[in-house]
Structures are given as C-alpha cells and as structure tokens.
Symmetry: C2
Subunit: 446 residues, 2 copies
C-alpha cells in the first residue's frame, strides 16, 4: 500500500513491522475515555525515520509524488491523539533530529526531534535552561511540544507557548507541490504552533532560554482547599520570589502522590512549588503565615537525575491526572481557564457543586498580564452525557473549557475554530492535505 | 554644640567644615517647589564617616549618651528631603561601608553604603546583576535605596522593594538604650524598608540578584499618545519577552531627551524599553504592528560605561522630571498609581483634562499580580493651590496619588499613616527619637 512511497526513500530508515508501526501510531489519547473509543486500533502503514533535514525533504517529496499521508511523531506523549494517524500512511519519527545547533545571546537553535530532558541537560552545561516544559519533559521532544503542547512548568513566569516571544523561529519542510525547507520568524511561527503537524514538518526551532537556576521542589499541606488556594494564588503573584511553578491539588489527590502521601496528613490539600534558592526563606514564611506545613523539600535536578525518585513537576500539569489513572482508570479530566477575578470564590464554588465527582487541580499562570489559573480538574467518568453536563456547569460559571476529549485542533480550542491565518497557512503549505489528515477539521480538500 | 558627641568618637573621621556639612545635609528635595520652601537652609552641625560597623555602633552609643540627632546619608539623591536633617545633629555618611561581602545561590550580601553602579559592576563579574535599581543608580547607595526608595528599573519583572522576597535580610544598628547590631530577616526588614532611616542605621543588606543580561536600550516613537500607550501596555504584558523596563513619555517630553530628540519626530510620544537580546526581534515586530518607529538602539551597558553617553534609563522614572528641570525650573511632578482596569482610557482622559499643564509619563509594573502603571506626570507649577486641585482631579478619577511634595513618611504614602508594625519598630529601636527626627510625623516622643 505504501510501497510506491517507500521505494522512493533510498537509504532513509523505514519500518514496516506491524507491531512497531502500531506502537508508533499511538499516543496518550487513552487518557480520554471518549478518544479511546474513537482512536483505538487506528494506525499507520509504515514508519520512516529521517536522519536529517535532507531526509525529511526526501520524505515530503515522495509523499507528494505518491499522495501518501504523513503524520509527524516526537515522543508520542500527546494526549488528544494528536500523533495518531486517522487514515493510515506513514508516521514520520522525528527523534533522530536530536542536536542542539547553537546557543548564543540567550537563544538556542535546536533540531525538532530532540528529547526535552536531554536538551535541558545540554543547556544546563552552558548555564541555561528551558524556559518552559511539559510535565512529560523526560519523554517529549521539543518539536512535539511546540506542535502539540501549550505550556507547562515555567509558564507562571514566561506565559504559554502562544505568547509572543516564546518561539523565535522555526524551520519547516512544506508539502507544497515542490516541498522545500523554509524559515518562519516570530509571529510567522503561528503556522506551526499547536497545529498538530498539519502545516509542515518542523526540522529546527529557535527558542529563548532562561538562566539556569537550581530549582527547589517544595510541597506544603493545608487542612482546607480554601487555605491552600489562597496561599497558591498569593505565592503565584509574588514577583519578588523567583518561582517556576505553583500547582494546587486538593485533598483527594494526595493519595495518588507517591512522594507526598506519607509526608502530608491524609486529605490535606497540597501546593507544589518550584522556587529558586533565593526565594526559599520568603516562601516558607509566606506558607507559614497561610497555615501551611512543609511536607517535602528537595532539589528538582537531583530528583530528576535519580532514577529512584521523581521531580515534583511529575505531580503537576497533565501528570496529576496520570498519577490517578495509573491506579484507577475510571477517572478523566477537563481543562478550564478560570477568570482572573473572583478566582478563588469560583474554585470553591465548583468544588462545592461537584463534591463526589471532581478533584480540584489548578496551575497558576498569567493570562493577559494578570495572574490567573488553569484548572485541570480530575473527574470521575460515568458517561459522556454527564461529562457534557459538567462542562456546561463550568461554562455557566464563566469558566472556559478547552475540551480535551476531542482530536481536532478546532474542537480542542475554546473558540472551536482555527484562526483564518492558520487556515491560510494550511492551504499554502499542504494544499493536498497530506499532513496528519482529519486533525484540522475545517480543512476541506479541494 | 555637638562637641560632647564628637569627643566620644575616637578616631572615627568627622567633618565640621560648615560648607561641607551644609552640602552633605542637602538632597534632591529642591525637585519640589514646596519642599524647597520648607527645607532650604536646614543642615546638620557635623558629619561623621564611619568606616565599618564598629564605627557605626560607636556613633550610635555616642549619640545615645549625648542625645544627638543622627541622620543617615547614602548618595543624597532622595527627592523628598529624606536625608535632610530637620533639627541639626550629625549626618552619618554611610558611603565608606562599600564592600560586597559574599554572593552565592543568587543572593548578595553587601554593605549598605555601596554605590549601586559599583555594586552592579561587581555583580556582573560573577554573572549577576541588580534585580532593580533607581534611575539614580550612578550616585545612589544600596542602603539609601532600601531606606528611601521604592522601586525602579527592573520593577516591571520583580515588583517593588516592598514586595515579599526582594529584601531578604538587613543588619541594623539600633538606637536602643544599649545600641546593638541586629539581623532582621524577611518580613522583619519592613522595619527599615522605606523608613527613611528613622528606625536604625543599616550596615548590611542581603538581596536576591538577577542573572546578568546584556540589556538593550530601545526607544520607539509614535504619532499619538494613545498609540504609544497601547504599545507600552501590550509590551509590558508580554511575559514571553524578557524585559526590564517599559516607560512612556508623551510628545512634550521628547524635547528634553538629549539622546532622542534628533532621532524621533518632534512631538511624538516615546516608549523606552530595556529588552534582552532574545526579545529584540519580537519587540520590534510588536512595535511595528502598533505603528511605532525605532528611534534608538544601543547596549545599556555600553552607554552606562561611556562618560559621553547616557543609558536610556536616565530618561525614565524620576529622571524624566529631572531632564525637564535641568532646562526649566517651573516644572514639578506627581506620583500616581493607575488602576489596572481601564488604564489606557484613564491615561488619555487625564491628558485631555490637563492639556497645557501636564505631560504624561508612565512606568509600567505589576501591582497585586497584574500589570498596571505608575504615573509620574510632569506638571507645570503655578501655585500650591493649583497643585492641590490637580491632585484632587486625579483622585476623583480613582487614581491614587502618593504626594512627593511632603517630607514625612506618612504624608508620602497613599494612606497618610505608617503601619502599626512600623510605629512599634520605631518605639523599639529608637525610643529616644534620635534618628532623622521629624520624618515619622506620628512618632511623638514620650
Ligand atoms: C502525562 C502527560 C502530561 C502532559 N503535560 C503537558 C504539559 O504540561 N503541557 C503541555 O503543553 N502538554 C502536555 N502534555 C501533552 C503533550 O503536548 C506533551 O506531552 C508534549 O508537548 C508532546 O511532545 P511529544 O514529542 O511527545 O509530541 P507527540 O505526541 O509525538 O506529537 C504531538 C503533536 O505534534 C506533532 N509533531 C511532533 N513532532 C513534530 C515535528 N517535528 N513537526 C511537526 N509536527 C510534529 C505530532 O504530529 C502531533 O500532532 C502532556 C501529556 C501527557 C500524556
Ligand atoms: C533624579 C532622581 C531619580 C530617582 N529615581 C528613583 C527611582 O527610580 N526609584 C526610587 O525608588 N527612587 C528614586 N529616586 C529617589 C531616591 O530614593 C533614590 O535616588 C535612591 O534610592 C536614594 O539613595 P541614596 O543613597 O541617594 O539615599 P539618600 O538620599 O542618601 O537617603 C535616602 C534615605 O535613606 C536614609 N538612609 C540612607 N542610607 C541609610 C542607611 N545605611 N541606613 C539607614 N538609613 C539610610 C536617609 O536617611 C534618607 O532618609 C530618585 C531621585 C532622583 C533625584
């Protein structure tokens, strides 16, 4: 079926072994019981593993010539089925493009398939670090993060991936009639930002880095959700404290947090923070004043480098839900954008309205110049109908939901559409609709 | 008159030459026509120049024994007459305590009399820099900044001096019955923060530092105030752009800005920014999209190190007014805290209401987790009565005024009182009221 395509690839490594191809066609879509039903069993026909940009170009040309679908793949940790090929074709495993090209003036140029932990370690040697990373840093690639993610640890300071200045440039192989590698600068990179690889194959990225900091993992426990939330929001707003992460999980979640469940009182709400050494004293004093008790303190880097331990960021962002799912598959989650005003009252109100089905989980970050929080509530799944009711309940309270139980770019956004600019980029760079087909719902092939 | 005091000082350097003593009794109070009337001619009786903490302790003991008033002095750049002795006594020149004691884990320990430019240069050698500094960095001391200032360049990211985490510790010589040197940690440092030296003589400070960045001075010109303000606010809110300063001055001020008046069209509003190299491309693109034209670009550090040039931060914060005063003494200024909501509409409204008397000047920074701006409008001074009317006009529009035409701590604040904690610290550390008498209005000696 993909034989004509494969025959054009010369010595580029390819895999047709069905077991491997199936494995490399899956990501973390099973996170969602709805996506599980929709995507289970879907897979590509083959896997190609380009070694450099010339290979990626050859793959793109072969795909155009043979009308073969291409779905790029990094670490395969997307949790909306971003990397699952809906209509077969080839998975393009980008992970061999794994080198840092240069670092200067606080900017890194990197190949898109580089693993993010490896990248962070390499940056560290030069006194830098990633500005932000998903909680999947150990397995995700930088290209997969830009193409499939949105933000994470570090967003409290630097905002999300879509904020101006967080992606400086990208080199992209297009699927035009004559595929070519082009450089996108600044705002032009919106063409590939969170576009699920539907507009091009990213080969290189240029990103600003942050100065290396010896972050300290802290966890504080609080007898009530309200106390924890007040502290978390206050800490997040302290510009004077150098911080990378402020995350809140309610008492129900503690039971799923291996590093903390023996050090914090059962049922207590937990605030996890990554704080620079210079901010430790102030943070502890602030927690004290808010009635919190220190439950854990370790160096993030040491925990990350020790295979027997985990850094606390692996209890935050989308990993919070994963910790629950590891033990109990009956849970799922939502993504909620809380408004910056009356945030804490809304947090408490939602907890009151969904006492048995929802565990509160918040990630603090700025939105339009103001500290607010993203909610990633962990929800007991009973039925699709009930999940829809819960989404409606959040929206009735003015809390926007980005539905994580859908696999198209449009349905995952709060506005349910792609921007006109992104739609135009799709027509320009992939007019034949060969890239990750079906993920940009509104793209109807001519 | 201070003979008994001086005779107790041993070999501590002292000065009684009236010309020098008078010069060292003045600061920048003349900035305000009202303070000029009130403070002109006031001076100490002598000057003492302690070389180390032991000397400071000896000075404190001698003052207690002889009931001599002590007014600490750093660079003498305070602009509310903070350093002017109202009732004679001795000026304590702290500038010989000028060494960095250590730098580690992103924290510096420094003697309080160190010049801030010298401090920043020394930090730079170790890869660090000051988190924030007043526009008087070249002449101010770190102790004078903490005791008499409030924030400045860098506050856009780190907040003001009063924000938790920006002052980690302070060593302070008290004027108790038995003067001693004590260490204040964290929130305890509120005892000396912006207290005008009324609660103790600061000998050492412990402060978090920022990673050294090769800041770039940029100035953009805009045909209208509204366009400039919209750009400045948007830029200030970009967490993805590494920035240290965003300052706006309206078209009337450009004429007073030597480095810019030949490079920007006359009458255009100016936005000055300090941006990391990694953020230049995004900042220029953003300015472009807002209709701004690049009028100036240079390295902050190079301009700072070149005696023939000035860094653009010397056109911002309180220096904006100074640039005007250098040419025209009929101007003065106010300090206004704009609310974070409807900021731009209020900025335009105030410009509309005071077309001939007021030039708009804004400094962007976060307030309670939200980007807002401090206004330092330059005002044509006609009479005290009219100045009061203008203050009332701002306050009617919900814009809080911190009056810079008063010399007491209370009257300079927006609430016109000192906190109960600071009042208690005063009673504890200086029960005899010997430190900078008259500056804490509410302290009535027993
Ligand atoms: C437990 C868990 C926690 C998570 N936490 C976060 C988080 O904190 N923040 C966050 O933003 N996301 C998070 N995610 C989602 C996911 O976006 C991130 O894990 C990560 O960014 C994906 O990187 P990846 O290399 O695994 O990408 P993949 O899953 O391999 O790919 C993601 C998408 O990008 C496309 N793609 C990959 N490489 C390229 C390329 N070179 N060119 C073009 N397109 C490409 C793929 O086609 C796919 O559409 C989480 C997911 C899980 C399962
Ligand atoms: C042109 C101009 C621009 C300015 N810009 C800013 C600005 O951007 N931000 C800002 O916050 N301020 C600003 N200021 C005000 C002033 O606070 C700062 O210039 C600076 O912080 C003062 O430092 P200094 O060493 O000159 O202090 P001084 O003027 O010498 O003293 C200030 C106060 O601190 C006390 N003091 C000094 N040293 C000690 C000590 N070791 N122990 C106890 N008390 C002490 C003095 O008694 C006095 O009350 C500006 C002033 C001018 C004239």
């Amino acid at each position: 079926m993909t034989q004509p395509f494969l025959s054009l690839l010369g010595d580029i490594p390819t895999v047709t072994d069905p077991a491997i191809v199936r494995r490399k066609s899956r990501d973390f879509y099973w996170y969602s019981p709805l996506l599980k039903t929709l995507l289970d069993g879907l897979h590509a026909d083959c896997l190609v593993v380009p070694r450099d940009e010339a290979d990626v170009l050859a793959v793109a040309r072969a795909a155009r010539q043979t009308s073969t679908y291409l779905t790029a793949r990094g670490g395969g940790t997307g949790n909306y089925g971003q990397a699952v090929p809906l209509h077969g074709g080839a998975v393009v495993d980008m992970s061999a493009l794994d080198r840092i090209l240069w670092v200067r003036d606080g900017v890194v140029r990197v190949q898109a398939g580089m693993n993010m932990l490896a990248m962070d370690r390499a940056l560290r040697e030069q006194g830098h670090e990633l500005r932000m990373f998903p909680s999947t840093k150990r397995t995700a690639t930088i290209g997969g993060f830009i193409a499939g993610g949105s933000g994470g640890i570090g967003s409290l300071v630097w905002g999300g991936l879509r904020n101006i200045g967080n992606v400086l440039g990208a080199r992209v192989v297009t699927l035009e009639a004559e595929p070519r590698a082009i450089e996108l600068r600044g705002e032009e990179t919106r063409a590939i930002n969170h576009a699920y690889g539907t507009t091009g194959l990213i080969t290189e990225l240029e990103l600003p880095v942050a100065p290396f900091t010896d972050w300290q993992d802290l966890a504080f426990s609080f007898p009530t959700l309200a106390m924890a939330a007040r502290f978390a929001r206050t800490l997040a707003m302290q510009n004077g404290i150098d911080r990378k992460l402020v995350s809140l999980s309610d008492g129900g979640l503690l039971a799923y947090f291996a590093p903390l469940r023996d050090t914090a009182p059962a049922g207590h709400s937990i605030v996890i923070a990554m704080i620079a050494p210079s901010g430790l004293e102030a943070t502890r004093a602030l927690a004290d004043a808010h009635g919190g008790a220190l439950a854990y303190h370790a160096s993030t880097r040491e925990a990350e480098d020790d295979s027997g331990r985990i850094p606390l960021y692996e209890l935050t962002w989308n990993h919070t839900t994963l910790q629950v799912l590891k033990k109990d598959r009956s849970y799922t989650y939502l993504q909620a954008a809380f408004p910056p005003r009356d945030t804490l009252a809304l947090v408490e109100e939602m907890a009151r309205l969904l006492p048995d089905e929802m565990m509160t989980h918040l990630e603090f970050m700025p939105m339009d110049g103001e500290i607010s929080c993203a909610g990633l509530p962990v929800i007991r799944f009973t039925s699709t109908e009930r999940l829809k009711e819960i989404i409606a309940l959040y929206e009735q309270h003015g809390i926007l939901i980005a539905n994580p139980h859908v696999y198209t770019i449009e349905d995952g956004g709060t506005h349910r559409v792609v921007s006109p600019a992104l739609a135009a980029d799709k027509w320009r760079f992939d007019p034949a609709g060969l890239l990750n087909p079906g993920k940009m719902r509104s793209f109807a092939q001519g």
